[in-house]
Point group: D2
Chain length 327, copies 4
């Protein structure tokens, strides 16, 4: 039960997590995986010739593995998944599975435009080690993506997925917000466990928590910029690009929220907003990867058509971190 | 206790407020009025023939005066100010001043499209009793409303206003969000005390609090739908249409936030989201006024071109309240 | 000959116009005024101290009066009408009436936010000499401006207006396009003669012409950038900011369209697009007024909060004219 | 030379087309293919079990081959290309090549999100018979798709493509309009021959024609709704979903435009707007396929998540055709 004492139950969820069969979904009992916690959406490292650099990927994972994350999201929007072939997508998931600590969750982004392709990718990702699938809304035909169409899509995927499904709404990339009524309907599916919502509309997030309160359904913030506010309205964690470079700080913010140290949480949240915007909306993945280089990870180049930052942009990026005391 | 630190300091602010010259702006000392708290944006009652019904206005104020509001906003967007003549605008402010409790603040919306008209309206409203002016962004020429233009506009108004100025950003009506950089610059003006932000972007609100932390500058949420989240990121109150009908509940939500009772605050916030959306974005002022009729106030008709609700809409409005236990 | 049929009938319309009681609406017969042709939306000149400069206004009109315009639009968006008092609005119309040639039409923008205020302004403008009223959509409560609300608004205005009414849709300013279904309904009103559509969606314009083909209803393009295309789909003229500075050229474009010289029309249209964008969307009224100064008219300052152009912007504005051979 | 006498040169282009080496791009001479004319964007037929139905595809092509189209677009947005595997994409192109008349052009949509994948798909499509590649803007990272990024992307594709490249801007699907400055720069590439622009902004189309007038660069309208207006501003043809069902009528509209019969063109254009909107923006590919069933083609189901029309929608679709005399 998520309900009694929101924060205490979340904390219990976290501690309960240790004794659970993490990543296993016991379909017979209708139990769902608890996804509460912080996740970095892992970037995909490329060599100078734009090949996936699996070695660097593993090195990054080893470094990231030292933080108290709940797990890792692979092939969220920051993973450049639209630029990967199907086999690269699976190989990346497989490598991350091997490189990451055993007690953490691996949420793999398996969304494709067609329902059938999404089902196939979801099954394949489960086979190579994903604990859950995180499925972005199809979007190319957004004008026809009614609640009915999206409910049909996700229901089919969840019906056929061997692992739990996490909905994923990211309007900045898709031009489409998964409607709340669709979320509420889908929350009743035994194999749908939650949503990653990157839109930043906290009223909507609170409403989703409220309307799904009788389901085992969890809401994750899709960005560190509104993480504190999301906890305040009942979210249980976040998938935060910023955690790729300020992992300790994002986990600290989680802890401050979960232990009710709101004054300190607010101060920390404030200092994370500009860096977070810099590595997401303002400078995108090129900004995130550049910052990773600064913070001891391998960022490296993006695949084209994503371009590297101009010197001016790079300076502004640095300022967004330094002016908040992080560089 | 959850509430130490930020919230206790806010409470101190509130109690300190009692000994201050509330509503008076001691320009000699550069002290600013403390606007922390909850405000209903008062509606303008009309008769069946679309005349302003000052008697009903006063009756509503007497009823609203029993709640622990910090004060009243007159001629926010819910006051149908674009439909009032200049003399009606002033007469409404004057009547509210007389009808409301003496110890509360009267924030009067004085925004016009031109800077000169805004200055004149602001001065006049101060003369008829406004404690502060709440000034919406000009918007008809939004394509030219750069930060520079808006800084110029607000600076001029604040320079010439005998009462403190509150910025007002309401993109749903204006198609324009007052840029954060303009807010930060304007926060340094000795006669600008805060902003009412109705956009619902809590990342932006947190950033404004953060970047103005060295100024006497306060952020108010412009809607009850994200009030809890706004407190969490450092806002100090809200101007909430919903407070016209659920005044006790909105004030209770404030108290729960200020005393750190986050679990109860979250539950209450959840139950207020749908009713709040119903009387704002979904059904607008006609919805708010209809609900006022249900809750013992005088709502009455809107001025044209605003239309009354269809029976279907009215039923949906009622459901948004009843399904959350308010009707 | 390219121009037979549609264009010849338009020309017949123009010549028929000479024998009609232009500007008078013979309600008994249900006859409507013919508004086909080109109109500059007159700017409002201000002195250095932001007073309306009626002398300069008259001088501009005398110069503009030499072109074969169908008439003048006063207090379209380019007239800074939101910055004028009610009495200034009427005085401007009165002065233009006196300064302009007797055989031309005066379309006066009488839109206000409330239906009642719009009715009153429309009646007053007719009294000071407007041949027709051009009524912008109310927009502050755009979320409630359904087709039903807008039909109600315009019907009331048209019922009570002593002069014909022209609908006015300008989404760049209002954030609202008058829906086609509302236009079709309103086209049946005996006192509604057409629409000025500034949105630039030529599919929509063609559809309006098509769906109102059985009514006496005319469509005017709201900008010179899509004037040729508008004629091609059945519009009968345009209200063109650019005609304030390139009046001869815009009239020449009209003539080329009406006489079926499409090759030359296209070449001329092409050379007008960048200058037109410069004085409208790109640099707004400050750009238009600056260009008027260059072309022998009085442009002068705008009222605040509109700001004058930066030197960089002014250079870009000049380039948009010079690169097309106009400066 | 496109220039002298726009319409006459286009007509010459059409007649010249018969003697040209259609589909061959003589790189040595820098000659480009002439893409002027009308193209249906071919739909991809599926069986009841969602397999590509190549037989039905060929049948449709045989029927469509009787109209005077310039050629066929395969895997434009109406081809459901995001739902096809890479091998399906190629097989469809190959089958269309075999089924279509030899003297027509095959423009194959080869756009992918990454530059590298787009290059590979373009090369492969040329190998299976595409005369030119039509390349949609990458869009998932639209926030980073600056002019510079898009110029880099298209330049790389055009450098490496064995067939000419047509740019493709379709903001309804991508949330992104290819900026005019990028189009102008790219028009100078010897292997980029034109743009299919589906945005419907005819001012923009005219500007593109104007700014590329010194290049061998052609503009195609991306929809039948603004086809006449596009010809008027200098476009040389269109890729029109409606041509899949009203092929004769769309070709007739072309002919009326090219022969200067503007009155008849306008009347025909008017009657095509609602049917066109119905099979594009209003009801999407499900609407187009349903209509194909009515008009003697094989429409059939879409791949999920696209849903079939509701009975109500189907009735509205039928009305959009019948009210204009097409059913």
């Amino acid at each position: 039960m998520l309900g009694r004492g929101v924060w205490s139950s979340v904390r219990q969820g976290l501690s309960r997590g240790l004794s659970r069969n993490v990543g296993g979904w016991a379909s017979g009992e209708g139990r769902k995986v608890d996804i509460a916690g912080i996740y970095p959406p892992v970037t995909t490292p490329f060599t100078a010739t734009a090949e996936v650099d699996y070695g660097k990927l593993e090195e990054n994972l080893h470094k990231l593995g030292t933080f108290p994350f709940r797990g890792f999201v692979v092939q969220g929007s920051n993973g450049e998944f639209p630029f990967l072939t199907s086999s690269e997508r699976l190989e990346v998931v497989s490598r991350v599975r091997q490189a990451m600590p055993k007690d953490k969750l691996l949420l793999a982004g398996s969304g494709c435009e067609s329902t059938q392709a999404t089902v196939e990718m979801t099954v394949s990702m489960a086979q190579v080690g994903a604990d859950a699938a995180i499925v972005v809304t199809p979007c190319y035909y957004r004008g026809r993506m009614s609640s009915a169409a999206l409910i049909h899509h996700y229901t089919k995927v969840a019906d056929l997925s061997p692992v739990p499904v996490v909905l994923y709404s990211v309007p900045a990339n898709t031009g489409l917000a998964l409607p709340v009524d669709a979320v509420v309907t889908l929350s009743q599916h035994p194999n749908i466990v939650g949503i990653k919502d990157s839109g930043g509309d906290v009223t909507r997030m609170g409403l989703m928590v409220h309307k799904t309160r009788r389901q085992d359904f969890q809401v994750l913030a899709g960005s560190a910029g509104f993480l504190l506010a999301s906890y305040a309205v009942g979210a249980v964690g976040g998938v935060c690009a910023l955690a790729n470079v300020l992992g300790a700080q994002v986990c600290q913010l989680e802890r401050l929220c979960l232990t009710g140290q709101w004054e300190d949480a607010q101060k920390l949240q404030h200092r994370l907003i500009e860096p977070n915007t810099a590595v997401t909306r303002r400078f995108g993945i090129p900004g995130l990867k550049k910052t990773m280089d600064w913070f001891g990870y391998y960022g490296g180049p993006c695949r084209a058509p994503l371009q590297e930052l101009s010197p001016t942009d790079e300076e502004a990026l640095r300022m967004d971190f330094s002016s908040n005391g992080w560089l």
